[in-house]
């Protein structure tokens, strides 16, 4: 298993390397340069000459690629940042990311072990402690004040270091993407299961119809409809501002009272939720429709399997049949689907982020493409690539955990 993961990681690095080369070449040969806009102004000539020299744009493309590649993996010193609050809100350093990753591992681990047979009490105790341990480690790392960064260069648009921009945007994108994913999973999976159990019932037919309508509605329609109904009309009818149509927090967010230990206060949480709900719901609506369809199909397949008939013939109560025998089998195909969806969250939701003025990776990315901002484009592409590689491995590992027929050696 360990050897398998190492092998997959090595393949992953090779894949990322190839990806960087292909994308770099594509940008180079797609026409235009980052400085084209300055050429309109004749007085900019010396600036263009200076920037061309400074960014190395006069060098051949392969030389530019190797300079980029070398810098891309070189660490630089950066001033320290406060810890825990950084994890939850705003800019993130690599330490904080490790903390988040550790938290995700802890959650994934507890979910995975929920399905593994517990043979002895010591194992149960060990499991509980290990989860607590991972969380404590995560907190400690998050509270530590050292911040790490790689030399990803300066944005060609003149808005600062690419590393800071990408990770700042990534934090925002994760806040939106993970919330949407959680809503989609919490509602979509049970919906699909229930539809399968009550196949062809009124509820099932309604669920199917709603799923298809939601799934086939473009996100810019859903987003705007939500803004119109839940934000604008709701405020008009009730006179109370329930949801905001744009931004991550109100302008007065920082002035709101802070909570204990530098954590956000209740009022601040409320403000965040008021901003987060509508964009998250827009994304979740579509994913939820997809998940419920997949889950329904996979559950139905299991419900008609021979081993479920065996379970029934054994005299098991219906609840045990569904929860123990059907569910675990029906969840296996969903794992792959969800894992890859998580990978693509990193890329941000370009349309949704634009509609809701959400300063995430999607908006950063589309802006960078419009300005032919090589360093930012490359950074975002590599982040998405790394996400896909890692989540593929995670999906395969989870597959092995859930399905005893799958073994890696």
């Amino acid at each position: 298993m360990f050897a398998y993961i190492i092998r997959r990681l090595v393949y992953g690095i090779v894949t990322l390397f190839a990806l960087s080369l292909v994308v770099f070449v594509l940008i180079q040969f797609s026409g235009g340069t980052p400085l084209d806009r300055l050429k309109l102004n004749p007085r900019m000539q010396p600036v263009i000459a200076q920037l061309t020299e400074q960014w190395g744009l006069d060098k051949p493309w392969y030389e530019q690629y190797f300079i980029w590649l070398k810098n891309f993996v070189t660490p630089i010193d950066v001033p320290s940042e406060p810890g825990l609050t950084v994890v939850l809100f705003g800019k993130l350093g690599i330490r904080s990311w490790v903390a988040v990753a550790a938290g995700v591992v802890a959650i994934g681990y507890s979910v995975a072990t929920f399905f593994i047979r517990v043979k002895a009490n010591w194992w149960r105790t060990f499991r509980a402690f290990s989860i607590i341990g991972v969380w404590v480690a995560a907190f400690w790392i998050a509270k530590s004040r050292v911040v790490f960064a790689l030399n990803w260069g300066e944005s060609f648009r003149g808005d600062g270091a690419v590393w800071d921009n990408v990770f700042g945007a990534a934090g925002n994108t994760f806040r939106l993407g993970l919330t949407a994913l959680a809503i989609a999973l919490i509602l979509g999976i049970p919906l699909g299961i229930y539809q399968a159990i009550k196949q062809y019932s009124f509820f099932d037919q309604m669920g199917t119809m709603l799923s298809f309508i939601t799934f086939s509605t473009p996100i810019f329609i859903i987003g705007v409809m939500l803004q119109l109904i839940l934000a604008y009309q709701l405020e008009r009818w009730t006179g109370v501002k329930v949801f905001y149509v744009a931004g991550m927090t109100s302008s007065g967010y920082a002035e709101l009272e802070r909570g204990l230990f530098g954590l956000p206060s209740l009022a601040q949480w409320g403000d965040v939720i008021q901003h987060l709900t509508l964009p998250a719901l827009s994304i979740a609506a579509i994913s939820m429709a997809g998940y419920s369809r997949f889950q329904r199909a996979s559950m139905l397949e299991v419900m008609h399997s021979d081993y479920l008939r065996t379970a029934k013939a054994k005299g098991l109560p219906r609840r045990t049949i569904i929860v123990k025998h059907a569910l675990r089998n029906a969840l296996i195909p969903i794992v792959t689907l969800v894992s890859l969806d998580i990978a693509f969250i990193i890329g941000g939701a370009i349309i949704t982020e634009s509609i809701f003025g959400w300063p995430g990776v999607g908006r950063l990315y589309i802006g960078a493409i419009n300005a032919i901002d090589y360093p930012t484009i490359m950074a975002v592409v590599m982040a998405i690539g790394a996400g896909v590689v890692v989540m593929n491995i995670v999906a395969d590992i989870l597959y092995g955990v859930l399905d005893p027929r799958v073994r890696y050696d």
């Binding site: 081993y307 109560p317 025998h325 005893p404």
Partner: protein
Amino acid sequence: MAEPLLNVEDLRTYFSTEEGVVKAVDGVSFKVNAGERRGVVGESGCGKSVTAMSIMRLIEPPAGEIVTGKIEFDGRDLLQLPEAEMQEVRGGEIAMIFQDPMTALNPVYTIGDQLIETILLHQDVSKSEARQIAIGTLADVQIPNAAARMEDYPHQFSGGMRQRVMIAMGLSCDPKLLIADEPTTALDVTTQAQIMTLMLELAEQRNTAVLLITHDLGVVAGFCDTIQVMYAGAIVERGTGDEIFHNPQHPYTWGLLGSMTRLDETQQERLHSVRGAPPSLINPPKGCRFGPRCDFATDICREALPILHQSQEGQRVACHRADELDLKALAIGAAS
């Protein structure tokens, strides 16, 4: 005489389809005594499996429904039992083994888990006692190294081994009746023989009644005390193994026997086949359902549905001409 263990009376199980109502089981009545081994034979779609599923009440509405009938088991009418009590009966008093052992076990739980689950459900024992019982039954079905194999998953077993596990699961709670629905169909011939021998031994040891459903006459021959032949949702002949094999009264039974390959046959003759195809169960033919395929059909066969009655030879048969025909004398088919 003691009460029979299982008493099925006028069982009718219908399935509604878009083309109409399929009368899969249409008026089946039979009794099985404690410890008796009963074979149910017939071709595909004659209602054998649906009969078994009906006894277990595994027919899922709204697709299929037991329309009328009475299934008395051990003094209780199973069709009147509330679902919770029926769950006690399933697996506890009536166990069932299915056709395809490759898919009948849940792939994500160990053999031990699945065995222990059944035992804990029906017997008042602790987890470790259940484990011991499970290991014992696995050893009974001749799984070598039973204790260690408890931790294995179904995919680590061969087809024959999995069917043994199914048998172990069925017998682990000492049921009074074991329904085996084509238990050897998916297995190769040598494994078939092993499984049948094993089932025979275990059923005799434990005095378990067995309802063996199969289309393979060879399988019932050595195993069953009594045999009933089903055709188009009804029983057409019932008798002891000797009666059925050596003196069939119904032309369908006679035809089935004739279509068997025999090792002692010396001449190279074409195998007999029952001509035609089974009738539609939505609109069964008027009169005898076997009539259109029968070589001996007369006017009465085309008019009236024969009922199961005692023939002069002893067994019960549903044929108008059973007593006048001497099928034994006709060379084709019938055993020696």
